[in-house]
Amino acid sequence: MNKIYVLKNGECVFHDPGPEMIPVFLSIDPDYKVISTGPGEGFVPKYQQLRDRYVFLEDSPFDYSCEFLLDVLDGKINTTRGDRYAAIDILQAVAYKSLESCSFCGWNCSVNRFLNEKGTCGLGVKVYSRHPFLHIAEEPVINPSIVTNLGGCSLRCKYCIDYDLWDSTNLFPLNPDEYWSYVDKMMVNNAHITSIQFTNPTESLHGIINLLSMAPKNIRLPLVMNAHLYGSNIFYKISSYITDVYLLDMRYGNDICAEILSGVPSYMAHAAAGLNEVCYNNTCRVIIRILVLPSHTDCCHVPALHFLSNYLNRIYLSILDQYVPEHEAFQDFKLSTRPKQIEIDTVKSLSGKYMFRDVFSLESSFW
């Protein structure tokens, strides 16, 4: 946890709270609880399943096309000769090969990140992050979660609360040994950890797969990908092999607001393509978050809910009332305040009318 916001009316927003905050929360509310609904004892995350699968290739994985390698992973091409590779290593090769002409996000920059060419996200081949920390206030089905905030982003949201992540010089290179050492320490101290989570994974997918390929065998925590919905099909395709839960931010309900507030074109088309991929082409669990923005109910949240109703039976909904003006939000009159309670209530009420599955009230059926 590194930020607390105190608002004019005395409201407080605790951003990314960790266990060190529990005494503070108990001081404020003696009935405070950390609620969790984990997947149960026998759960094996996809990345561990992928590590236990093997395929055979006669040449180095890097000598094959991404399409061929994905067909091998999907079992469409059956190879029985050559060297044995863990399936996760094949996936890693696909991710790294994709960097030669990067199209992980909707910008489709096509730069060669291997040569350290940088596109909109500002990242080359290296992946950067803050140190992982234990988040105690996520949705119960993934809570508590070991969260790693990754650097670099394709979006430039005016109200971004983590805008310091855009500049990777403030961050650390993602180091598997250090990461798993952190995780191990946290797990020793907290038996109840429910998930590991990466925020902003789209632009750093190759680094995450590299990390997971070195996960200790005893780690059985589901992997949560907390992504903006401006990823490409290739991002969702590759990430689907390792992702147990997609936690996706549905920020807008039209392209104009997306362009003005986040600087991205064709947002809705990318959101639709991404949701089609995660909802209909694989079996991952999908939670959609809607951050209620002030004065964007009619233009964004209402149409977004209508749009999401196409995926009613595949998604769980999580409505966030935590927006606080940050970064450049004060330059925008509408964004320079907290959302009104009636705006939050309207979004919640409409989601009820559409009969979305509320991730807070249907926890038991999630896993």
Binding site: N2, L7, K8, H15, P19, E20, P23, V24, G38, A137
Partner: protein, 176 residues
């Protein structure tokens, strides 16, 4: 973007109530000057509102916060602080208040808070002070508390205060 915890403003009202009771009890025990200045004791390094609430102790309150003073009615007084003197001891438990403290506060009262914003400003200041005090009491280091826009204070915590070896106590954990 991760989820955050939102604490509604009303939660702080009980702190104020307790603070006012504290002022009242000290005043009744022979400190009429407190009434003159009508200053609500807000938490300091040594006194935490939460502790007062929890243990029913009354410690020596400090009345000055970043040059912000708040009246017993909760209205911030924007004034220059001329002098503050307080004995460093004078603790009372339960209703047995000992007259061991001497407080001299001289201010130039210049209340510039408009009437419409009075409550909001009061709540803001109250919440900020309670939170900062509670953080300090729990050894969480506050790096900065900046006003980042109209009525929004961002409290940034020192990265070092985040430790990955802290346990979630069993009594707060609910497994469903």
């Amino acid at each position: 973007m991760s989820r955050a915890i939102v604490v509604q403003p009303g939660i702080f009202e009980r702190f104020v109530k307790k603070m006012r009771a504290t002022v009242s009890s000290i005043k009744n025990a022979g400190f009429p000057q407190l009434g003159i200045h009508e200053i609500t004791p807000f938490p300091s390094d040594k006194l935490n509102a939460v502790d007062v609430l929890t243990y029913n102790d009354i410690a020596v309150p400090l009345f000055v916060f970043d040059n912000l003073m708040i009246s017993a009615d909760g209205i911030p007084i924007n004034g220059a602080i001329r002098s503050v003197a307080a004995a460093d001891q004078g603790v009372s438990v339960n209703n047995d208040v000992k007259p061991a403290i001497k407080i001299e506060v001289e201010i130039e009262a210049d209340n510039i808070v408009t009437k419409n914003n009075e409550k909001a400003e009061k709540d803001h200041a109250m919440a900020k002070d309670v939170i900062i005090s509670s953080l300090k009491n729990n050894n969480i280091i506050v790096e900065s508390a900046d006003n980042i826009g109209t009525g929004v204070t961002r409290i940034t915590l020192d990265n070092l205060s985040h430790k990955n070896d802290i346990k979630i106590p069993e009594y707060v954990f609910v497994k469903r």
